[in-house]
């Protein structure tokens, strides 16, 4: 924004875009008052996959839809001021609108895959928004973290949803809820729920995946207010709340949610005290609020569902304005560090007013919607007996929320003015109106509950276990709860007063950084390439001889494996060796030749000699053929061996291949011996069985009468199986054609290296 070139490149005014969500918002309100929830809608997509676009909007979805469109309108208005001088504003709006569509799809989908698709789309958009200032290394790293955590969680979610659909036999969320307790006994359920938890916890930044959210604050502030506070990060909470009626009775469900929610709420609240950046403080407190929501979902009992929706609403309505305020301050002063920010109320009176009203709600003070939410929540907690411990944890959490609210409203705007900010002026109306409006609406809900009631009650009913449940915002009972609220307030004020001291105290625990999940994740990311590098060196080093060893060993292993599968038995000696005694001398000579060549090969240090000794093996087999009644094959073999040796020697000398041969001899010899032994056994095996002579006899019989040829071999080659011969001719011919330019090229390059 403070780009020097910015002014001259001031982008188009995108304010009109805000009309789109506004129309949708109005339409929703009108429709809700007219048509009773739930609404349903179905569209076929891939029938073979049972994939369809099934939408189901009940109270809970409607609540989210109102938040998405309502706050979305305000975010667009705010952004039109915030991004006014940014050349990339167009891209920003496109992403925001895409996000809105994905979000609307996610909360109104009934088909679990449609939900998943939209869910992943929000992760993707979030990635691009976090990395919006892509020239900043920090932004890129944060975007990467956010993508890995939420996308990885998304995959776990997919696994969980697939399992869940297999268990319930339906892809419909409503179907799963309807099946409800009937699913509890399935042995696959714990696995499904674990995957589901990972998906929801990563999205909603629950411990131990909480660290991506504060880092995601590199996104432009309107995006942070929208995605990372009011809507997207609540998707995990949404899904958990949605499924709560089905699994609320399950101990595993309850314990996990309560434990993770409590740990997240407390831990994030404490970490908020360590931050200096106003926006990061708010992010930490968002994580803490998300933890509280998860905890509330995990609580048994009916008033907890009312508490969930009330707190969800309250949080969205106070956190979004506070983010806007943080953005406005940053925009006006150029800093977000609370070390420098003070006394801004004179320069920025309207922003200060918005901050005050929103903070009232955040602190849960009377006259605010936050107060209503908090009192409903404490009723929920009071209902459950095992909640005592969690209750005390939450006392601290709420107290820190009070302190954070005080920092945002009092510390920044009151106190002595900072001289550096004398030139600061109030931001434009586009950035003042949204926080003020949302904060006032939240305030108004307390005074005119008739307006908020129906939607919230519908939402609460949607996620409560029993059908007969009729929640209402009865005035909280006077007594214990008020006392708890007072204690919370007191501790909160104390925390605010001693904020600096606490901060310095916590600062000393730098060990927190080292053992934080973010650090672990960082090391993991850096470690993976190292592991891959090590592996690559081990296996993929580019040495052909080693590749060949691997291949031969694989073959040997698999062949002997195949051998061992059926009961290993030694083949007997072949019965009829066809008068070999008559030719004992010639066959013996051939065998001596072959063995001499084979035995000599491993001891050769000279490539030429090596070639010769291998050639000896070839000549030996040719002699064998000669006396075994196949003189034509024998002569072919003689030719091949001779030509091979000549060509190889020519190539070796011509291209200056080192004469000395330095391969790992013993290892290669062992592999060769093993391969030879394997082949020997194989051949014995083959000859112990009678050969099927059907085909040769047929060829011999038909050759003359049908193919008019005396030489059976020739007829097979050129008639019965002519295509094979043709194919081989093509291979040989094209080898020559292909080799020619290669050789020419080689010679050309050969001269210079």
């Amino acid at each position: 924004m403070r780009d020097e070139h910015a002014a001259e490149h001031a982008g188009k005014d995108w304010l009109w875009l805000a009309v789109l969500p506004l129309i949708l918002f109005g339409y929703l309100l009108w429709e809700i008052s007219r048509t009773p929830l739930p609404w349903q809608f179905q569209l076929e997509w891939v029938p073979s996959l049972e994939l369809g676009i099934d939408l189901y909007v009940d109270g809970l979805s409607a609540q989210f839809l109102l938040l998405i469109t309502g706050i979305g309108t305000m975010v667009l208005v705010y952004a039109s001021g915030y991004m006014a001088h940014d050349r990339q504003a167009g891209r920003f709006y496109k992403l925001l609108l895409l996000f809105m569509v994905a979000m609307i799809g996610a909360v109104s989908a009934d088909h679990m895959l449609v939900l998943f698709l939209c869910w992943e789309l929000t992760s993707l958009v979030s990635f691009f928004l976090v990395g919006f200032k892509y020239t900043d290394e920090q932004a890129r790293a944060s975007a990467r973290t956010a993508l890995f955590i939420t996308m990885g969680g998304g995959l776990a979610l997919l696994g969980g949803l697939i399992l869940l659909s297999q268990i319930a036999g339906t892809w419909s969320l409503q179907g799963v809820i309807a099946a409800g307790a009937g699913l509890h006994d399935d042995p696959r359920l714990p696995a499904a729920l674990t995957l589901l938890f990972i998906g929801c916890f990563t999205k909603s930044a629950q411990f131990p995946f909480h660290f991506w959210l504060p880092n995601a604050m590199t996104a432009p502030t309107p995006a942070s207010a929208y995605l990372h506070s009011a809507t997207m990060v609540k998707l995990g909470v949404y899904l958990l709340a949605r499924l709560d009626p089905a699994f609320n009775e399950l101990l595993f469900w309850e314990i996990t949610l309560i434990a993770v929610g409590t740990i997240t709420a407390t831990w994030a609240a404490v970490l908020a005290l360590r931050e200096r950046d106003l926006k990061r403080i708010l992010a930490r407190s968002t994580v803490s609020a998300l933890g509280t929501l998860v905890l509330l979902i995990g609580l048994p009992g009916e008033s907890s569902s009312l508490a969930v929706v009330a707190f969800l609403y309250a949080h969205a309505l106070y956190k979004a304005p506070l983010f806007f305020v943080a953005g406005s301050i940053d925009h006006a002063t150029g800093t977000r560090s609370i070390d420098h920010l003070r006394g801004l109320r004179r320069q920025m009176p309207f922003t200060a007013a918005a901050a005050m009203i929103a903070s009232l709600s955040m602190a849960g003070l009377p006259l605010s919607f936050g107060y209503v939410a908090k009192s409903v929540a404490s009723v929920a907690k009071a209902e459950s007996e095992l909640m005592a411990l969690a209750g005390y944890g939450l006392l601290l959490v709420n107290a820190i929320a009070v302190a954070v609210a005080a920092v945002a409203a009092i510390r920044v705007f009151w106190g002595p003015a900072n001289q550096a900010f004398d030139q600061v002026r109030e931001v434009s109306w586009r950035m003042v109106l949204p926080p003020l409006l949302i904060a006032i609406i939240a305030l108004e809900f307390e005074f005119i509950p008739t307006f908020a009631d129906p939607v919230l009650v519908d939402a609460a009913r949607a996620i409560s276990t029993s059908n007969s449940f009729t929640p209402s915002f009865a005035e909280p009972q006077a007594g214990t709860m008020i006392t708890v609220a007072e204690i919370t307030l007191l501790i909160g004020v104390l925390l605010f007063v001693f904020w600096e001291r606490l901060h310095r105290f916590l600062e000393r625990f730098s060990i927190l950084e080292r053992f934080s999940c973010a650090g672990f994740f960082d090391r993991l990311l850096k470690g993976l390439p190292r592991l891959a590098a090590w592996h690559t060196r081990l296996l993929q080093h580019g040495r052909l001889d080693s590749y060949m060893r691997v291949t031969l060993l694989a073959m040997l292993g698999i062949a002997s494996g195949a051998w061992l599968v059926i009961e290993p038995g030694w083949p007997g000696m072949p019965g009829d060796l066809g008068g070999w005694r008559d030719q004992a001398w010639s066959l013996g000579a051939a065998a001596v030749l072959i063995m001499a060549g084979a035995l000599a090969a491993p001891f050769m240090h000279n490539r030429m000699a090596l070639l010769m000794s291998i050639g000896l093996v070839g000549y030996g087999s040719a002699v064998l053929f000669l006396f075994a009644g196949a003189p034509d094959v024998a002569f072919t073999q003689f030719m091949v061996e001779t030509v091979l040796v000549v060509v190889a020697v020519t190539v070796l000398t011509r291209y200056g291949v080192p004469i000395r041969y330095t391969e790992p001899r013993v290892r290669n010899a062992l592999i060769a011996v093993a391969a030879g032994a394997g082949t020997f056994i194989l051949l014995l095996q083959m000859f112990s069985l009678p050969a099927d002579l059907g085909m040769p006899l047929w060829f011999a019989e038909k050759s003359l009468p049908e193919a008019y040829g005396q030489n059976v071999v020739n007829v097979i080659l050129v008639d019965f199986r002519a295509l094979d011969t043709f194919g081989e001719i093509v291979v040989v011919a094209f080898s020559a054609i292909a080799a020619w330019p290669l050789l020419r090229r080689k010679r050309k390059h050969g001269s210079n290296g």
Binding site: V46, L117, G569, Q685, L689, A691, F720, D724, G727, F734
Partner: protein, 492 residues
């Protein structure tokens, strides 16, 4: 008239056109000939596919010699489907090849290049269409030989080394295959695959048959780059000319997978493999392939090599489908053969377009180019999403069926591996996206124009196909389901 000879025409036309192409002068004329031939083949392949789509089988006897004595071409939906992929990819790669090849290959070699391209396509088509296992080997030789030559034409000197490595490894694989074929011929006295499937059950208990099976499986596994026999593939794909990488990545390994399907299910059948640890081997090596190759991919600095490793991982997914040996698993494998051809084709084309402008496939050279070449970048992103398996893309459909198959077999661990593999894919796809889009352009101040239309149009055709087959899976899934019934030997 033509209809009854389609299968032979598919093999004969490119085989005869190849030498002619090699003799044509200039650059455009050989290209035009090859293009024409590939389009004719594509049309014939579509026609042929339509004929057998209902699950019927066409038998064509070469020279009128009845099987099993003569060579038989036996067309069913399985090989018609694979032939469609091969001819289709050739038809779409050739328009792309013109500009890319002009830049990468010396002018005097270009006629030879197109000639070899046709020969390679011919070999792959021959492998798929023939019903004779020795004839299959002959065409395997043709396709291998031409691909060695094509790879060696890459512009870097290391292309020669890569081609040589592939030649040695490929020859070993082919030899194993030949030994295996020889062994089963000795056992059964026939080379016709349909005939073999009738005669083999009688000798299932013989050691020789088991050994033969092992030789054939290893030989084919080398060709399809099954982990850990994939060692030749990364270099070959990295140093080959861009157009060849596109074509080979999309077809060569797929055809080898087809051969594996045929051997395992048609020739031998699950009646044989269920007594052996074959399925477990496929599952184990599939899992290892997915995990290890994805890890390698993350580490790579060269975009082509990164995608090559990703191919090894994708082969792992297909092997998982084969290893499940269930109707659902093999359906997933067949669908993924098709879908992977689409996504890898699109991705290698996009990278090829980058190489065309930048002159290097090294990722560090891509800094900020994504904003200068938005269309190429968009294709890369969408192809990458398909590779990851994001819903709405073709990749999702195959992963989907694979996960279902894993769940059906209660193989939770493998289902988890499939999902983890997707996560790793996010990492390596993102690695390219980050550099292309988020890194500032290099300091040299060099800006690159968008790739020419002749490169962009084929790329985007494949990208759109990725989206289309992700939204409408009826054709692919329907064909795969019928294919599984036709393959035989799989318990339904």
């Amino acid at each position: 008239m033509i209809e009854s000879h389609i299968s032979l025409l598919l093999v004969v036309i490119p085989l005869l056109a190849a030498p002619v192409t090699a003799l044509l002068p200039g650059v455009r004329l050989p290209w035009l000939t090859a293009l024409l031939v590939s389009w004719v083949c594509f049309a014939l392949a579509i026609w042929q596919f339509a004929l057998v789509m209902d699950g019927s089988v066409i038998s064509y006897e070469l020279g009128g010699w009845a099987p099993p004595w003569g060579i038989e071409y036996r067309i069913d939906i399985v090989n018609a489907f694979v032939a469609l992929i091969v001819a289709g990819m050739a038809a779409i790669t050739l328009p792309y090849a013109l500009r890319s090849v002009e830049q990468e290959i010396p002018k005097h070699q270009i006629p030879l290049f197109y000639s070899m391209f046709l020969l390679c396509m011919d070999g792959l088509l021959g492998i798929t269409l023939t019903g004779d296992i020795f004839n299959l080997f002959v065409f395997l030789e043709i396709s291998s030989l031409s691909s060695y030559t094509l790879i060696s034409m890459g512009r870097q000197r290391r292309a020669l080394t890569a081609a040589y490595q592939y030649l040695i490894m490929g020859t070993i694989g082919a030899t194993f295959l030949l030994i295996g074929i020889g062994l089963i011929y000795a056992e059964t006295g026939t080379l016709n695959m349909a005939d073999l499937s009738n005669r083999l059950p009688a000798v299932f208990s013989h050691h020789t048959v088991h050994t033969a099976f092992a030789f054939i499986v290893v030989g084919v596994a080398l060709k399809l780059a099954m982990f850990p026999l994939h060692l030749w593939l990364p270099n070959a794909y990295t140093y080959a000319p861009s157009a060849i990488t596109v074509f080979l990545a999309a077809t060569a390994t797929k055809v080898a997978v087809y051969v594996m399907l045929r051997v395992v299910f048609t020739v031998f059948s699950t009646g044989f493999t269920s007594d052996t640890p074959t399925d477990d081997m496929f599952l184990l090596l599939g899992v290892l392939g997915v995990l290890v190759a994805s890890f390698y991919a993350i580490y790579q600095g060269d975009a082509k090599r990164l995608l090559a490793y990703s191919s090894v991982a994708q082969i792992g997914y297909i092997l998982l489908g084969i290893g499940f040996a269930s109707a659902l698993g093999v359906t997933a494998a067949v669908v993924h053969i098709f879908n992977h051809a689409l996504m890898k084709g699109a991705l290698f084309m996009a990278v090829g377009a980058l190489v065309y402008r930048i002159g290097s496939s090294h990722i560090t050279q891509f800094s900020g180019v994504g904003r200068q070449m938005p269309w190429t970048f968009g294709a890369l992103v969408l192809g990458g999403l398909s590779l990851i398996g994001v819903p709405g893309t073709a990749g999702f459909i195959s992963k989907w069926y694979l996960v279902l198959a894993a769940i059906e077999q209660q193989a939770w661990l493998i289902a988890a591996v499939i999902l983890v593999g997707s996560l790793l894919a996010v990492v390596y796809v993102w690695k390219m996206v980050e550099v292309l889009y988020f890194r500032p352009a290099s300091d040299t101040g060099e800006t690159y124009r968008e790739a020419p239309l002749s490169l962009l149009v084929p790329t985007w055709l494949l990208v759109i196909a990725n989206i289309y087959f992700g939204l409408n899976a009826d054709l692919t899934v329907g064909a795969a389901t019928t294919a599984v019934q036709v393959l035989g030997g799989i318990p339904q």
